[in-house]
């Protein structure tokens, strides 16, 4: 018989080992999957995980796609630590793109150096406001933020669709549902020549570092951690649960909004009906796989970004559908949650002792 024995204290080693275990299990599953689909598993693995980053351009793409993921996951992790479940980051990202795009379309032409900063601020504020709705509903009406924040993802994407099909459609765009291309003043400056990598990655890293300081060294961050670890103790100590909901949601929303603004002002450069290949959802996985820890989140965002690139590469080189990316992402999180049993329990073989 296999049985689980509670550990007196959570194991720190297991906490760091389980993401590696999960990633390993995901790789094994990938090998099996590729074999079942009739591909040489080693060739497929190389096409998926090695080829995309074998060039300078590839590495730049890896960092480019990791940018929104680490930014959003950092914001979400602050909420998750306090048991605030914002899962609507995809919608907050969309609102961020709308906010930034609105500024770019209105003032981009002949605008000065202030246009880009204004776009980023507008994006962050739009994401923050969108996340404020579930925060208000939770604190005022006790409504579950998981469901409300997710419903708002659908509303946000319909809102963007409305804008690019209607008032913001490029009049010279052959009736395609997209805005006109942003002017140079509304685009993030490039970081490495001949690649698409822009200064967004620097902004994201600065915010990740700031979040680390916030969580570790600020009193507000401390109170949020207490509320997550021991809600009853936090309540007794007079830590306001409502305040944590507001902080957790708004920080997550602002980060996702900024990520959306940087997608619009970065690799996309205009508004399209869909602004993200699910970064807002993938970032939830990044936050968990990264153990809600800034350093872990940066590493996990690189892994998740590699899964996106691998999916594209597998489509081109192996004629596998790029949807395989979503499959890998979901599997990774399921494996991680399963492996996390080792953090709080010891696995014992043998019969139960009779006490």
């Amino acid at each position: 018989m296999i049985r689980l024995e509670p550990r007196p204290e959570p194991s720190r080693t297991a906490a760091w080992l389980s993401p590696l275990l999960a990633a390993g299990a995901m790789l094994v599953l990938g090998l099996v999957l590729f074999t079942v689909l009739g591909k040489d598993p080693w060739v497929a693995l190389q096409a998926f995980f090695v080829d995309p980053i074998a060039s300078r351009y590839g590495v730049a793409e890896l960092l480019l796609k990791a940018t929104p993921l680490m930014l959003i996951a950092t914001g979400l992790a602050i909420g998750y630590r306090a048991n605030v479940w914002n899962i609507g980051a995809e919608g907050q990202l969309t609102l961020g793109a709308i906010g930034a795009g609105g500024i770019a379309l209105a003032f981009g032409e002949g605008g000065g150096a202030w246009v880009l900063p204004a776009m980023l601020v507008a994006g962050a504020l739009a994401g923050l406001a969108w996340a404020g709705i579930p925060a208000l509903l939770r604190t005022r009406f006790n409504a579950n933020e998981i469901l409300t924040s997710l419903m708002l993802v659908y509303v946000a994407s319909l809102l963007l669709s409305l804008l690019v099909h209607g008032p913001w459609r490029d009049p010279e765009g052959y009736n395609f549902p997209q805005s006109k291309l942003f002017d140079a003043a509304a685009l993030l400056p490039n970081l490495i020549a001949e690649t698409r990598l822009n200064i967004g990655i620097v902004i994201a890293l600065v915010i990740v570092a700031a979040a680390w300081v916030f969580v570790r060294a600020s009193f507000v961050g401390y109170r949020m951690r207490v509320a997550g670890l021991a809600p009853a103790a936090a309540n007794y100590a007079g830590i306001s649960a409502h305040r944590n909901v507001w902080l957790g949601m708004l920080i997550g929303g602002a980060c996702a909004g900024l990520a959306g603004a940087m997608e619009a002002a970065g690799p996309i450069g205009q508004l399209l009906p869909v602004m993200s290949p699910g970064y807002g959802f993938a970032a939830i996985i990044v936050a968990f796989v990264g153990r809600l820890h800034p350093m872990g989140i940066v590493l996990a965002s690189l892994l998740m970004s590699l899964l996106y690139l691998g999916g594209e590469s597998a489509q081109m080189r192996l004629a596998l559908p790029s949807a395989v990316t979503g499959l890998f992402q979901g599997t990774l999180l399921l494996f991680l949650l399963a492996a996390d049993v080792l953090v709080n329990f010891r696995v014992r073989l043998g019969l139960r002792r009779i006490a």
């Binding site: 689980l4 024995e5 509670p6 479940w85 899962i87 709705i133 509903l137 009406f141 006790n142 409504a143 579950n144 998981i146 469901l147 409300t148 997710l150 419903m151 708002l152 659908y154 509303v155 319909l158 809102l159 669709s161 409305l162 099909h165 209607g166 959802f281 939830i284 996985i285 968990f288 559908p321 949807a323 395989v324 990316t325 979503g326 499959l327 890998f328 992402q329 979901g330 599997t331 999180l333 399921l334 949650l337 399963a338 996390d340 049993v341 709080n344 329990f345």
Partner: protein
Amino acid sequence: MDTFTHLLVLTLAAGTPLVFAALGELVTEKSGVLNLGVEGMMLVGAVCAFIVTAKTQSPWAGVVAGMAAGAALSLVFAVVTLSLLANQVATGLALSLFGVGLSAFVGLPYISVVIEGLKPLSWPALTSLPVVGELVFGLNPLVYLSLALFVVVELFLHRTRAGLILRAVGESPQAAHAIGYPVIAIRYAAVLFGGACAGLGGAYLAVAYTPLWVEGMTAGRGWIALALVVFATWKPLRVLVGAYLFGGVTLAQFQAQAAGVEIPSQLLAMLPYLATIVVLAIISRDAALIRQNAPASLGRPFHPDV
């Protein structure tokens, strides 16, 4: 035909996927388990039902496959949360993300495939009766099945000993365990039932309602079903009524377009999501109401030694 009757028929048809998914989730939650993976289970149920129907030309085989697929996915959730004691919220989210990815992956070759779906019943002598003919005799067979499911769930939960034990497990797993009921096994059964129902809801969409396969075709119905269980304060009859109300709201956009109302389609498409948010806020506002009706151990893992 009578326009009002026809509208009622359409409303029943639109609400049915929610009836299946929400009744299944209701039973799962009554056992104290919160499975947020409904959207993923519906999608995988939908895609499997569609593929099997396309291969066998038998929509009923597809329906069975959809249920089996939903149950299989819920088994993953059950193993991770019940045997490995993972956080139910995180695992449910993971299951939804996984289901979205899996269904998109396996459904890709079937996107423009045409199938012969399940047709509404038609007995000319009966369905042509005035006013009630179509409403009583001319619905899709799966709509009747969903009504039967409602009756079964209602009777099971409140009129059978097994239902009482299930509810006891949801209220106090420690007490149920102490008396000697197998808490984990009962929860497994409840989760699998919920998964099969979600799969059935997805199957209904893919082989009866539309019938076709489109990536992400459930469009958030799994999440709306989760919200419905809360609106209904965990009562089957209210789930049924709520599902049809939401079915009616999804119809509003088609009705408005047919009537030539000049509103952008996106605004009308937002209605079901906005309605979910508003109703959820109104019902949840009464915290005591939720506390009294929600299963007391909802979302908490159970391990006899902890």
